[in-house]
Symmetry: C2
Subunit: 398 residues, 2 copies
């Protein structure tokens, strides 16, 4: 089969992947079913939410990866219904949808991964989903990557895709990804739904550890609102279609870059967000201490509202650092806001509030916090907290 | 000295306590200096924030209690400036204000406790505070309890006081309290500023442990926004003026009740809040597990916004429970909202959304969550999250 022109945006940018996004009727008037298929069986890995309440598709996909020994060929995603807290009926619905797709594609059912996102606690209208599958399969194309990226969104305001091309000794290969945000997002429990494809040759046995480390340096450093979904999953398919063997190191580096780009896109488009906030902590005793402080600052509602108000209230940053569970010498701290030093060691703060406010009004705000204690550093991402978040979440189901 | 008629509201309800609240000019046009004095030296105890960034008054008051062996006679509180992250100049300001008051009252400086609340990172205008002290001392009265309760407020919309009268074998005694909220509030690190007086006879040696346990069952189960102040303190003075010895158990029970009432008042008046939310978790493996789940639910922005929108989105409660770090059988959970069962074991939910929405629209919302696993139970308090919180905190300093 001749290879058609490549999409240059998302999951169909790597060779041998097709995708589609259609409306099957789970949501009223918005695409709600995404399909991602590799032309050939691929090595596969995934990280899942660590929430104790697991959605049916999470349980099923984890079992499928175990049964197949890390092989998969298709990923089926629906938006508009999380299929979580839906009991045995929900388990059956997830299984039936995977089996129906496997039937259409002539695959063993355990080569299909499923994911869902949307309202928790309502039964998935699985007949509508299954009825939509033939159309989704018929629509599969290289150009369909963008449609798939659109169909997985919930409160996101736009689709989020990313691509990396990597030069390796044997030639070049490509990594493509798509992700949806944009609430119920918090570190350390995988986060949100993200799907990554690559045409590099990579054995399944290394894929899982690479994905876990890359997720730890990207999505696990992202918080929107401190809540963690029942459905989170990052799925990765490596189909080898480029015929180029990737070095584990090179692939991990490129994958991490791609996931960081997607994670930042999620933060920037967090529910109600007007600004991307990057929190860079340096000078901690070690990386774990830096990460704890960075996460606590990124999670602070008071920091997030102050940035929203373009108020250089660095005292809130210091107070958040102080409750991170890390020993701290407050008088050794330095805080910069988009490059402007607002706190120097010894609690010296001498800056123009007008200039600070101007810098906090930019689209992206970088908060640099140096603890003056060692060499540990870590970066996290979040967004400002606005009336928009309240409006979205006070009326999510209505 | 004859005992004047008792105030029946707050810290001057117990015998032998006087208070005042005046404007000394730290804030523009609002009372900002509160004074609480016992006619005789009292047994004293306090719990302080566990934030690593400690405000100067916290450091000073802790040292004073150590130096005096748990004795104190006066508490001086200012609002409008936290005197936190203010370095040695801030330490000096706290010390000078305590010494100035001690001079006026003819007390050893270590019999004065000081507390501050307000903006972090600005130097306390200590001359204005010291200049105001003679007026504050002159204004001391039994009726001044309400003025003191007013002068310690920040973003609170009204003052918060409480009184308990306790019948003991030797007669009756009284406990009175005042508190300020209403943001930067989160469990386990003492929380906010609260001051409690009693005329019971209680040795200092038992006071500290009693206060710690009572705080653990009240303020440490309260969250408004997950942020913890650099200035939190609960101070307790027991002056023995009633001449009645309190049993440790009876006093602890009454003190806990009083602190719970004050904690609930803080939640109800949380920044921007329109509703008090009580989260009651039962059926956990033990109390620590119940508390972890209750705190996580109370801290969830998605739960708090759903209550604000009167949306019976119980899936968010289940999802929050699932990330509490506690082993959980989701299918065993029951969730009630103001008495209406919205989730039964096996993920059966069959209720009227209209009725649920009506119940969530009440001033107080009780979320009952049974985990179906054991006998552990715990209660926490919080409030809904609204546009008002954003508006207050995006522009706090301006």
């Amino acid at each position: 089969m001749s290879e058609p022109a490549r999409s240059d945006t998302g999951v169909t940018a790597p060779k041998g992947f097709l995708a589609s996004g259609i409306h099957c009727g789970i949501r009223r008037d918005r695409a709600d079913l995404a399909l991602l298929v590799s032309r050939h069986e691929a090595s596969a890995a995934a990280v899942f939410t660590r929430n104790e309440v697991l959605a049916a598709p999470v349980v099923l996909s984890r079992a499928a990866l175990e049964a197949s020994g890390g092989r998969a060929q298709a990923i089926l995603v629906n938006a508009g219904n999380a299929n979580a807290c839906t009991g045995e009926q929900g388990d059956r619905a997830a299984r039936r949808s995977a089996e129906a797709l496997a039937g259409l594609l002539d695959l063993p059912p355990d080569r299909v991964l499923v994911a869902s996102t949307g309202v928790i606690g309502q039964q998935l209208p699985v007949e509508r989903l299954i009825d939509g599958l033939p159309r989704a399969v018929a629509a599969l194309s290289v150009e369909g990557g963008a449609d798939a990226a659109e169909a997985i969104l919930t409160t996101d305001t736009h689709r989020k895709e990313s691509v990396r091309r990597v030069e390796a000794p044997g030639g070049s290969y490509t990594i493509g990804g798509m992700v949806k945000g944009s609430g119920m997002i918090h570190p350390d429990l995988a986060t949100t739904l993200a799907f990554v494809t690559t045409d590099a040759v990579l054995p399944a046995v290394v894929l899982s550890a690479i994905l876990r480390r890359a997720a730890d340096r990207s999505f696990n450093r992202l918080t929107v609102d401190g809540d963690t979904s029942t459905n989170d999953m990052i799925g990765l398919l490596a189909n080898g279609a480029a015929g180029v063997a990737a070095s584990a190191d090179g692939f991990e580096r490129a994958l991490t870059e791609l996931l960081v780009e997607l994670a930042r896109a999620v933060a920037r488009d967090g529910e109600g967000a007007t600004r991307l906030i990057t929190v860079q902590v340096t000078g901690a005793a070690g990386e774990p201490e830096a990460l704890a402080v960075a996460r606590t600052i990124a999670g602070s509602l008071l920091v997030k509202t102050a940035v929203h108000g373009a108020d250089a209230n660095w005292g809130r940053i210091a107070a958040a650092a102080g409750r991170a569970g890390v020993a701290l010498r407050p008088a050794a701290m330095t805080v910069k806001m988009n490059g402007l030093t607002v706190l120097s060691p010894g609690f010296l703060s001498d800056y123009s509030e007008a200039e600070a406010s101007r810098r906090l009004g930019l689209d992206e705000v970088v908060l640099e916090v140096d603890l003056g204690a060692g060499d540990g550093e870590a970066t996290t991402w979040t967004c400002d907290l606005t009336r928009g978040y309240i409006d979205i979440n006070a009326n999510y189901r209505t």
